[in-house]
Amino acid sequence: MSKYKMHLLVCGGTGCHSSESYRLYETLRDQVEKRGLERDVQVILTGCFGFCEKGAILKVMPDNTFYTQVKPSDAEEILDEHIIKGRRVHRLLYTNPETEEHVPDSKQMDFYRKQLRIALRNCGAVDPENIDESIARDAYQALGKALTEYTPAETVDLIKRSGLRGRGGAGFPTGLKWEIAARNGADQKYVVCNADEGDPGAFMDRSILEGDPHSVLEAMAICGYCTGASKGLVYIRAEYPLAIKRLKIAIGQAREYGLLGEHILGTDFSFDVTLRYGAGAFVCGEETALIHSMEGKRGEPSNKPPFPAQSGYLGKPSNVNNVETFANIPVIILKGAEWFSAIGTGRSKGTKVFALAGKINNVGLIEVPMGITLREIIYEIGGGIKNGKKFKAVQTGGPSGGCLTEKHLDTPIDYESLTAAGSMMGSGGMIVLDEDDCMVSVAKFYLGFIVEESCGKCAPCRIGNKRLHEALTRITEGKGEADDIDRLRNLGTVIKDTSLCGLGQTSPNPVLSTLDNFMDEYREHVHDRKCRSGQCRGLLFYVISKDDCIGCMACRRVCPTHAISGEKKGVHVIDQHICIKCGACMEKCQFDAISLRNDYPRATAAAAVQEESSTHS
């Protein structure tokens, strides 16, 4: 059999997909064929490389050359220059923003230097639609090892000793969870993979399923072996068509090889996996709601206990783990519990995948060892704040999480310290905010999401979050009342204290953590009617500068509500009580005399807002 001399790995993740990576892949294949190189050069579509900011990504192996922002039109040049003549195409290499040097090796890039890819180990390295490629990178070896060398109890013990904890948010020790499920006897048990990733901006589970589906299937089988389950179910949202397609292909190929099905690897162990589709409700990431949804019932949580390990899918003991948790399992078994537990901090072992987004230079998917600081993530991996702006906060944990500020920059990231800082690990969303972001508006955004996604079963979450959102809306519109801040805090505390499931119990975190860290901004909004970042439209005022106005009357004529007064050649004034903030005056003014300001004299501003709210009510 001939060997490929060159491998062109085109990122097939959803991010690069939207940067036309599929067309790039096709063009490369065509060009390779045209040059008769198909026996020497292999072009494949892989999973996500993580550096989504710079998509589409093309990696050339074994030259270890990492091309960024590659367009389909670059294919010809890459083949002619790099593949045929052996000269790298410099303009497509990553440029270090500080030294301005071209960096061909991804390991030398700041974005990758501090990363440690365990869960993402195969993303970007294999063709997820070809099981052979995964097998070349040890897929199903861990299953084989567990089945032939360890008893189920020994395997569970290994996972326990590794210190792996659930990556879906709450961080429950995985080995312990398996042990409980193993302990409960039943004629049928289930292994459920929670692929209902719902945090806004988080896409690590999707990337793993798209880039390395076999690692999840293998881990589910291992879990089935440990807990005594013969059936696996992947609960995946229907909005992830690519992940679904690749999972289906992977399941089909694994069955064909006999790696799923009856008597796996000649043992007595049988295990198979099927898919269940969700409709994308955030709350269905909660395991009891997820199980209800799989059963065809309304996707809403129920009280725990009973835990799914006692009574889960169809009333049978079920072990539910998240995608990223599963993706860690095979490596732990192959490399050992001690190898894994050597990574990370005291009670948080291994790595965590984060979706880095917001006002940061290097947006993308990163996997870092536990214990790394926020500063390292933001300033080294993330390449700092966009446009040289000032860092304000980072939101972690999605709608259940909170905001961390400058003072938390050197906190090591692990389950305990994030919770102590008023946020949480969550599933790994990480959104960076800069000085232009209004923290009240950020809290309002997340509450808006929660109000949309609450299932409506329990009163505090159903009604309480709505009331929180209403109060935040009032405040950002400049109609906040003096006791709104106290009300937010009490309501937030009660919702946390009384809600039925994890969604409600964490839903006020964005409010409570911004209240803790950015009380000044809340006070300014409520008492001074001012939004320092200028994000809240209701707190901005069009003002005509005395010095620049020449009294041409253009603004006065264009104002639809006749809010502007002033004589010809005299200075014009906007009556804030009448102004509807349409912006027509500012557009019309030829002399840049009109500006939108958030520092309008306080008394006037307060009066104006008061006026407006009274006419509205």
Binding site: M6, P62, K85, D132, I135, Y140, Y257, L265
Partner: protein
């Protein structure tokens, strides 16, 4: 596709696949492996560099030496084609000229295998990309 019925089957399958795509995975950490760069510009190809490269790949695999075999552009020694740059872990790169298959066998045997210096080294005064 044949079924994989035992763990031994799985290991065999892995080896089979690795032999086809092994070069890809080795490229991740070239520093720890033997790196072979074959100059594959027009002059090199004309002098038989393609065959030499294939020979390197097959022979290194056969001898179970973990190596990364890549092609590179013209090194500027067109008179001495085919030219091959060899980097052993922790050592400076060395360029050999006039590498035909016989010479390649010798390089593998003696330089890569034993670390002996051979004739045919071209003084290096360039940097490859």
């Amino acid at each position: 596709m044949n079924g994989i019925k035992t763990l031994a089957d799985l290991k065999r399958k892995q080896e089979e696949v690795m032999s086809r795509m092994g070069q890809r995975n080795r490229g991740e950490n070239p520093e720890s492996l033997v790196q072979v760069k074959v100059a594959m510009a027009t002059c090199g190809i004309a002098s038989g560099a393609k065959e030499v490269m294939e020979y390197f790949m097959d022979e290194l695999d056969r001898k179970e030496i973990d190596a990364v075999v890549t092609q590179t552009g013209c090194m500027g020694y067109c008179f001495a084609e085919p030219t091959v740059e060899i980097t052993l872990p922790g050592r400076e790169a060395i360029v050999f000229g006039y590498v035909d298959i016989r010479k390649a066998g010798e390089i593998i045997e003696r330089y890569i295998g034993e670390g002996e210096l051979l004739d045919g080294i071209i003084p290096q005064n360039y940097n490859t990309i």
